[in-house]
Amino acid sequence: MATSAVSHSAAHGAIHVEKTGLWSWITTVDHKKIGILYGATAFTFFLIGGLEALLLRIQLGTAENTFLTPEAYNQLFTMHGTTMIFLAVMPLSAMFFNYLIPLMIGARDVAFPRLNAFSYWVFLFGGLFLNASFLFNAAPNAGWFGYANLTSKQYSPGLNIDFWVLGLQILGISSLAAAVNFFTTIINMRAKGMKLMRMPIFVWMSFITQVLLLLAFPVITVALILLTFDRVFGTHFYVPAGGGDPLLWQHLFWIFGHPEVYILILPAFGIVSEILPVFSRKPLFGYAAMVFSGIFIAFLGFGVWSHHMFATGMGPIADTVFSLSTMLIAIPTGVKIFNWIGTVAGGSLQMRTPMYFALGFIAMFIIGGLSGVMHASPPADLQQTDTYFVVAHFHYVMFGGSIFALTAGAYYWWPKMFGRMLNEGLGKAHFWLMLIGFNLTFFPMHFVGLHGMPRRVYTYPDGLGFELMNQIETAGSLLLGSSFLIFIYNVIRTSRRPADAPADPWNGATLEWALPSPPQEFNFAVEPEVHSRDPLWETKRERGGTLPEPARVSSAGIHLPNPSYWPLIAALSVLAFFVALLMFAHTGPWPMVAAGVMLFFSVCKWAFEPAG
C-alpha cells in the first residue's frame, strides 16, 4: 500500500478561470483544446469525405449513369480517399493522442506544447490547401496513391497533381512534428511508477504509431519531392522517356503506404483495448501479448509493401517473399482479436454505446482481416487487386475498423472532454443504423469485385451483372450517411444540457477518470504515482469501491505554458511557402524565399519567447 494514484491538493488561492474566447483557441497550447480542435476539424473533413462518397455512390447506382462526368468522378474518388485517410482518420486519432496521452500518463501537457499547436495549424492549412483545389476545378484526380507516370506533367498537365503533392507535404510536416512530440512525451513524461509495461494500452498503441509515423513519412516525402522535381524541373525520376521507372514510385509510395495503414488502425486497436475491459469489468486479456503483437505488426509492417504490387510481375521470388511476410503479419493481428474476445469472455458486459461500437469494431475487423488474408496470396490477388474486392477489404478495416473504434472512443471520452454524456438511445440508434448501412454498402462489394468490376471506374455497362449490387451499395451508403446525422443531432442536443457529467461515469481504469469532467487546464494538481496497470481500479479497490467526485482546485504554484501565436504564424509561413511553390512556374522563387524568411523569423521568435 503506497500513496494513491491521485491525491487531492489543498492548495490555496483562486481557482484559475480558463479563457474561452476565440483568441484563447488561436493561441492555445493546451493539449486538451488542441485535441478538440483536431476533432472538430477532422470530423468536418470526415463529413466532406462522406459527401464525396455519397456522390460517387449516386453515380454508380445506375449503369451508364451521367450524374457525374468522368472528370468530376475521378476528382471525387481521389479526394474521398485522400480526405478520409489524411484529413479524417489520422487527425481523429490525433484528437485522442492529444487529449488522452498526457492524462493517461499523468502529465500536465505534452513535451512541446507550442509544437503541438503548430502541428494542428499546419494540418488545418494542409486540409484547406487540398480542398482549395476544388475552387480551381483542379482537385487531385489520380487516386489517393497517384501512380506514376500518369502523374507526370505530360499526362496530368493541370494543377491537380501539384495540389495533391504539395498538400500531402504540408500534412507530412504536421504529422512528423506531432510524432516527435508524442514520442518524446511518452518516453519522457510518464508519472512516477509508470513503467512502460504499466502504460495504458492506448498509450502503447499510440507510441508504436508515432514510431511508424517517424519512419514512414520521410519516405513519402522523398517520393513526393521526386515527383515535384519531375513536374516542375523536368527531371525523369518516374518518366520512362528519360530513363526513369514508374515502379520506383510504387516502391517508395508503398514503403510509406503500408505502415500508413497500420498508423490508421493501431490507435483504433488502442481505443478498443481500453473500452472492452471497462465495459466487461475485467482487465484486458493478455496485455503483454497485445503490446508485443503491436510491436511485431509495426516492425513487420515495413516488410510487406510489395503486396500492393502483386500484379506488376515482380517475379516468383519477390511475390513469394511478400506473400509470406503478409501472411505472417496476420498472426499478431489474429492474436489481438482473440485477446479481445478473451477480455469479454467471463466478464459482466455493460452494454452501453461505447461497448456497442467496440464490439462492432471487432466483428467488422474480423471480416476485413480475412479478406486481407485472401489478398495475401498472389495468385488469388491477381484477380482481386484493383477490383471492388479490395475496396471492400479496406473499407472493412478502415471504416469497420478505424471509424467504428474512433466512434466508440468519441462516445466513451465525450463526458471527459465536454462534461456531458451523449444520449444512450440516440447512440444505440446511431450504432445500428451505421452497422446495417455499412454492411449493406460494403459487403456486396466483395461479390461485385469478384464478378469483374474494377475499381475507380466512373460507370459500368449494363449486362455485366453489376447493377443490382451497386444499387444495394448505394442504398446502404445513404443509410450509413444518415447514421451520422443521428450523431450530429446527439451532439447538438447534448451541448444544450448542463455540463454536469461525473468524473468517472463508466468506472474507468485509467488516470483521466480521476480528474473532473472536463479536467482543469493543468490536469493534475499533484503528479500522480502509479503502481500497476489500471491504476484507477487499483485505487478504487483500495478505497472500497468508488472515489468521491474530485474538486476543482486552485492552480496557484502550478507552472503552465504560456499561450502563443507564433505556432500559428509559423504554420502560416509553411502554408505560404507551399502556395508559392504551387505558383512557382508563374511567380518564380522569390515568394518562396519570402515565406522561408517568415518561417525562420517566426521560429526564432518562438524559440526565444518565454515559455511559461
Binding site: 518524446t184 519522457n188 510518464r190 517517424l214 519531392i225 520506383l248
Partner: protein, 196 residues
C-alpha cells in the same frame, strides 16, 4: 531561455531533457529521409544512356578536402560544447566559429561543384545521374546550410552572454544535428564519389 531552466528541473522518465530526446527522434526520422534518397541514387546508378557520367565529372580531390573539413568540424563542435559546458567562453566561441567556418567552406565547395558541373553540361534534367546527384547532395547541402544557420544563431546567443553552462543544451542540440549531417555525408561520399 527560461523554459530550459524549468525543463531541467522536471523529472523525466529517461533522465534526459525532452529536447534531447526530441532531437534524437527527429534525427532517427531523417535517417529514413536520406535512406530513401540514397536508395534512389543507387537504383538509378549506371542507368544513364546519355549525358555526363560520374566517372567523367566528379572531382574526388576537391570533395575529399570538403569531407575532411566536415569531419573536423564535428570535432570542433564537440570542443565547443565542452567549452560551453565548462563555462569556458573563449573555447566555446572559438571552436564554434571554427565549426561554422568549416561548414561554410563545405557549402562553398558544393556551390562551386554544382556550378562547375552545370558548365560541363550536367544539369538536374540532363540524365538520371544529374537528377539523383543534385537531389541527394542538394538536400544534404540544404541540411548543412540549416545547420550552419542554427550554429550561427547559437554563436550570436553565446556572444551576447546568453549561453551559460546551464543552457549548454541549446548548443548540444545544434551539435547533435551537426553530427547527423556529418554522418549522412560519411555515407553519401563513398556511395556517390568512391563507389564504382
Amino acid at each position: 531561455m527560461s523554459h530550459a531552466t524549468h525543463a531541467l528541473e522536471h523529472h523525466t522518465a529517461t533522465g534526459l531533457d525532452n529536447r534531447k530526446v526530441a532531437i534524437w527522434t527527429f534525427i532517427g526520422s531523417e535517417c529514413l529521409f536520406f535512406a530513401s534518397l540514397i536508395s534512389t541514387y543507387l537504383v538509378y546508378k549506371g542507368r544513364d544512356t546519355s549525358g555526363p557520367t560520374p566517372d567523367e565529372i566528379l572531382q574526388i580531390p576537391l570533395v575529399t578536402f570538403g569531407t575532411a573539413l566536415l569531419l573536423f568540424s564535428s570535432l570542433f563542435v564537440v570542443l565547443a560544447l565542452n567549452g560551453a559546458q565548462r563555462g569556458n567562453r573563449k573555447a566555446m566561441l572559438g571552436w564554434l566559429a571554427a565549426t561554422i567556418i568549416c561548414g561554410l567552406f563545405f557549402i562553398g565547395m558544393q556551390v562551386y561543384e554544382f556550378q562547375h558541373f552545370m558548365h560541363e553540361g550536367l544539369k538536374l534534367q540532363t540524365n538520371l545521374f544529374g537528377a539523383t546527384f543534385y537531389t541527394l547532395t542538394g538536400f544534404h547541402g540544404t541540411h548543412v546550410t540549416i545547420g550552419v544557420i542554427w550554429l550561427i544563431t547559437v554563436f550570436i546567443t553565446a556572444l551576447r552572454g546568453k549561453l551559460p553552462p546551464e543552457k549548454a543544451l541549446n548548443l548540444e542540440m545544434a551539435a547533435l544535428y551537426w553530427h547527423f549531417v556529418d554522418v549522412v555525408w560519411i555515407v553519401i561520399f563513398p556511395v556517390v564519389y568512391l563507389m564504382k
